[in-house]
């Protein structure tokens, strides 16, 4: 565990709520992005992250420091996300969800200043998110942790509480499944574009 985290946790246990705020600030975006990609809904993701932080705060005394703080936090957040997924209604597409809620600013706004580029990127993001949403929860989570959060196999095994071999085999199957879904979507979109001029007429 990082020394900084340890210091902040110790301060938090001494009763300084501001130290907890610092921990939140440190991990909120990572956690939010992972949960957002898992649930596909900005509002639910925000609620889940909030719940996860509160649960962590409530049981901070129980955190023994055996694992890294953020893997412990991830485990809590994933449990909440899975619960939320179970009881929530079917997932809406990201674009639909984003109409209801203001979109958070991207990390580097200058990069996306051009409308064409922004549109293209949004389309690609949406297609990828759709493919992700069609994966099973197990495959989706393992891909998010590996590719979006860039966690090691050991960290993923620790968070999901599964053996290393299972991480590897799940990742293998998840990658092939995602490829199959993306190919299928590309095929569908190309076949629909063939008919598009006729439809216009």
């Amino acid at each position: 565990m990082a020394d900084d985290d340890r210091t902040l946790i110790a301060r938090c246990l001494q009763g300084r709520v501001e130290a907890f705020g610092e921990l939140v600030r440190r991990y909120q975006d990572r956690l939010y992005n992972a949960v957002y990609r898992f649930l596909g809904n900005a509002e639910d993701a925000r609620d889940v992250v909030q719940e996860a932080f509160l649960s962590a705060f409530r049981s901070l005394r129980r955190f023994r420091g055996g694992s890294q703080f953020f893997t412990w936090l991830y485990r809590i957040a994933i449990n909440h996300a899975v619960d939320c997924k179970r009881r929530s209604k079917p997932v809406r597409a990201l674009s639909e969800a984003d109409q209801d809620h203001p979109k958070p600013e991207p990390a580097d706004p200058s990069v996306f200043a051009n409308p064409d580029w922004q549109l293209q990127r949004l389309e690609e993001d949406e297609r990828l998110q759709q493919a992700l949403s069609q994966l099973s929860s197990e495959y989706r989570m393992v891909l998010i942790l590996r590719d979006i959060d860039e966690l090691s196999y050991e960290q993923i095994a620790d968070i999901l509480d599964i053996p290393l071999g299972t991480v590897r085999s799940r990742l293998h199957r998840a990658r092939l499944e995602l490829r199959r879904l993306l190919e299928q979507m590309e095929k569908d979109s190309s076949s629909s574009s063939v008919f598009a001029p006729e439809l216009k007429r």
Binding site: C12, L13, Q14, G15, R16, V17, E18, F20, G21, E22, V24, R25, Q28, D29, Y32, N33, Y36, R37, A42, R46, V49, Q50, F53, L54, F57, R58, S59, R61, K103, P104, E105, P106, A107, S110, V111, A113, N114, W117, R121, L122, E124, D125, L128, Q129, L143, I144, R146, D147, I148, E150, Y153, R168, S169, L171, H172, R175, L176, L178, R179, L182
Partner: protein, 445 residues
């Protein structure tokens, strides 16, 4: 392709193969176009996931969480104090229930005092002795009935006391029975709550009856309580007077380096870098997405990766770049573009990121090495080089001569552009004794 072969490819994408597995995967990639296609697609998917739009919750979220945490702390403190309040209020409640009975008892007593039963007894006697009305009543006759009245009074008082006690017991039992489920519920609820940090809530401090003087023994004066913190910052080199001394500083940092360059205009800086590379006859590729950014006047960070340079070439390149950039001219756009250089050796994370961006396995990039004194010789380490070639021949791999080349590309690229494909095809195994530079350009506009 078999599932085992596919597993090798997914493992290669993750960079999680053993040396032997990696060799098998690379052999598979050399021999099978289908495997190459699948690997490229998987790698591309992985990169697309990696560069998915990132959202930010902002400082407001952290502030909101702090507020929630404070509320949580206050709630726990309130729960913790509740049993104390309960005990205090329970005694008040018992008193409130018992007091009316006591008042009623007192009322009965007073009533008895105002009209004592002894007088009633005399009145009854008087009525019974109606036929002798002429006989006057004496005070002695009254006195003679008083002992019986006192006796009665004692009995009444005894009964009253007994009734009051019984009522009090009933009331106490009633209060206890009605409140005990609440008490046990509170106790169990408290048991469920994790004893939390009390946060900013502070218990009331009792007032001190007498002033207390706190003294501290002087013990630690001899001990040095200051620790020295040593910071090793990477060298930040100014550009105005960039010369041979600065080149030596760059070379001393290691052989696989990041030159973090802050500059005015991205496109004009690239023109100067390109000129400097051309003067050294180094083949150069430019990712076609970058000119489109520049055409739209869009400021973007970008990379220039230059592989397999000798120490002399590094020096010549940097000095040529300085010459190109500081060449005097009449027009405003000929003013120097580069402001400063921050030099750092490439770390494992940076190496991984570069491999991701170029779509190469990490092992295909130069190894990370510790800094060493600058070498003035451009001769490669022949012994190592020959051994490596012999190993490649033994494995049946073709020997590809490492070439010096450069590539400018955007970190936002996906899928891989034509120029990146070309760069990958042309490059051989990097020379271990050569220098490799990643120029990270951060334009202001």
């Amino acid at each position: 392709m078999t599932d085992a072969e596919k597993q090798l490819l997914t493992g290669l994408v993750d960079g999680a193969l053993s040396v032997e597995e990696k060799e098998r995967a690379e052999a598979l990639l050399r021999s099978s176009p289908e495997a190459q296609q699948l690997f490229a697609a998987l790698m591309n998917d992985s990169l697309r996931l990696k560069y998915l739009r990132r959202e930010q919750l902002g400082d407001a979220f952290a502030a909101h969480m702090v507020q929630l945490a404070r509320r949580e702390v206050a709630e726990v403190a309130r729960r913790r104090l509740w049993p104390l309040y309960w005990r205090k209020w329970a005694s008040v409640a018992v008193a409130a229930v018992v007091l009316p009975f006591i008042a009623w008892g007192t009322f009965l007593l007073l009533r008895q005092l105002v009209s004592p039963p002894g007088l009633n007894f005399v009145e009854e006697n008087r009525q019974a002795r109606q036929p002798e009305p002429s006989i006057p009543e004496s005070s002695a006759a009254q006195d003679s009935v008083n002992p019986a009245g006192h006796q009665h009074w004692l009995t009444v008082l005894g009964q009253l006391e007994q009734t009051g006690r019984q009522l009090g017991e009933h009331a106490a039992r009633f209060v206890e029975e009605s409140l005990s489920p609440l008490g046990s519920a509170l106790t169990s609820a408290w048991r469920d709550v994790e004893p939390l940090v009390l946060g900013d809530w502070q218990p009331a401090i009792p007032a001190l009856s007498e002033p207390i003087v706190l003294t501290s023994p002087v013990r630690d004066i001899g001990r040095n309580s200051f620790r020295t913190l040593e910071l090793h910052l990477p060298p930040l080199l100014g550009w105005e007077r960039f010369g041979r001394a600065e080149v030596q500083t760059v070379l001393a940092q290691g052989q696989f380096l990041v030159l973090d360059i802050s500059c005015r205009d991205g496109e004009r800086t690239w023109e100067r870098i390109h000129q400097a590379l051309r003067s050294l006859k180094i083949p150069t590729g430019l990712d076609d997405r970058l000119p489109s950014f520049w055409k739209r006047r869009q400021s973007t960070v970008y990379f220039v990766y230059i592989e397999n340079l000798s120490a002399e070439q590094v020096g010549e390149f940097l000095l040529a770049l300085h010459r190109e950039d500081t060449r005097p001219g009449a027009k405003a756009h000929t003013e120097p573009q580069i402001r400063s250089l921050l030099v750092q050796p490439v770390q494992a994370e940076g190496r991984q990121r570069l491999a991701d961006l170029l779509g190469l396995p990490v092992g295909a990039l130069p190894e990370l090495a510790s800094p060493k004194p600058p070498s003035t010789s451009s001769e490669p380490n022949l012994q190592d080089d020959t051994l490596r070639k012999l190993e490649q021949v033994a494995r049946g791999q073709p020997i590809r001569r490492p070439i010096t080349q450069a590539l400018a590309f955007s970190p936002l690229r996906y899928p891989a552009s034509k120029q990146i494909h070309q760069f990958r095809q042309q490059r051989g195994q990097p020379r271990q004794d050569a220098y490799h530079l990643i120029l990270l350009l951060r334009p202001e506009r």
